[in-house]
Point group: C2
DNA sequence: CAATCTGGTTGCTTCATGCAACCATATTCG
DNA sequence: CGAATATGGTTGCATGAAGCAACCAGATTG
């Protein structure tokens, strides 16, 4: 059976357990673009309908989407992003910018995201310190956090290796 | 057969084609923590060895990792991040912070990433404009970019919908 | 130069994904 | 109101991806 990251003590792994399945992040992307109904997701994405149903259910169960009743004469569902889902905007932006840069290349971006107020494109996300200055990769230090388990602690004791730049 | 995003005109989809497979991003995470050799990846991650081999090859072919010869009496390989790979730090940080916040919750982070110079944790990534002020989700506007195909353009003409907050 | 370690590959099994057909309920139209 | 159609799925089957264990060639060590 495919390995699950459900019990893994790592935020990246656990995040992937929620949004790491094939198609899942594209479903979220559609939701961010305003898609709300099953048929519209199915029309925008070349995804199999049974898989779409599974992904939507999964995202609802995990709290990324909410299923709201939109029927007038009975029940008819729509899907909307929760706060948890909207908060994926940062992940989505990071991923889009990485793809823009390394897959398509500057000047060949398929979509442009800009600030409606100024009309200027959204600048690249950067890892900044509290004063707003960039932190270089070499200055990033990884160590066990308050929720670390024994295994994590052992591992970081074993490896006082620098993260790559 | 599983659908491929190879020809999709969307940076998110194309980025997922590179790093979206099950396990792939955790392999990259290990590389960022300093792991370089097959056996060490295998020891840190509960991944099947044939899948690990496949992932490493895929990442090398796509330019995220480089395979360098580290043998003294013959060929022995190590894997190191390329610039393309190192640039995934932003994606990784966004994903880790999202998992920290929504899966583990504040104060229960399994690992802490901090600025070596100050000892302070890395603040949350934010979508900022050029002057450093946060851009609200409501102010993000999505439109076809210079590399947009006909389908993308038609789609955005059809849908002048706001992105969610 | 024999023993062992490294870095995989191969074969088999099980699960995830894709495709097409089907179906119950909601909605619309005459 | 009743018939026609659209919506939002589910089910069954085929194929490919991931897990497991055994195996193997070349590199390294004693």
């Amino acid at each position: 059976m495919r390995h699950r990251f459900d019990r893994e003590n790592c935020s990246v792994a656990r995040a992937l357990e929620v949004i790491g399945d094939w198609w899942t992040l594209l479903v979220v992307r559609e939701a961010m673009l305003g898609t709300r109904r099953f048929a519209d997701f199915a029309a925008e994405l070349p995804i199999a309908r049974n898989i779409l149903a599974r992904r939507l259910n999964h995202l609802v169960r995990r709290g990324v989407l909410a299923r709201v009743n939109a029927g007038t004469h009975g029940t008819r569902y729509e899907y909307e992003l929760t706060s948890m889902g909207k908060d994926l905007a940062t992940v989505m932006t990071a991923l889009r910018q990485w793809g823009d840069r390394w897959v398509f290349g500057e000047g060949h971006e398929p979509v442009l995201v800009r600030d409606r107020r100024t009309g200027r494109p959204v600048p690249r996300l950067r890892i900044l310190d509290e004063s707003g200055a960039p932190i270089s990769g070499r200055d990033l230090e990884v160590l066990p956090g308050p929720g670390a388990g024994k295994r994590t602690i052992a591992r970081y004791r074993r490896a006082a290796r620098p993260t790559s730049s």
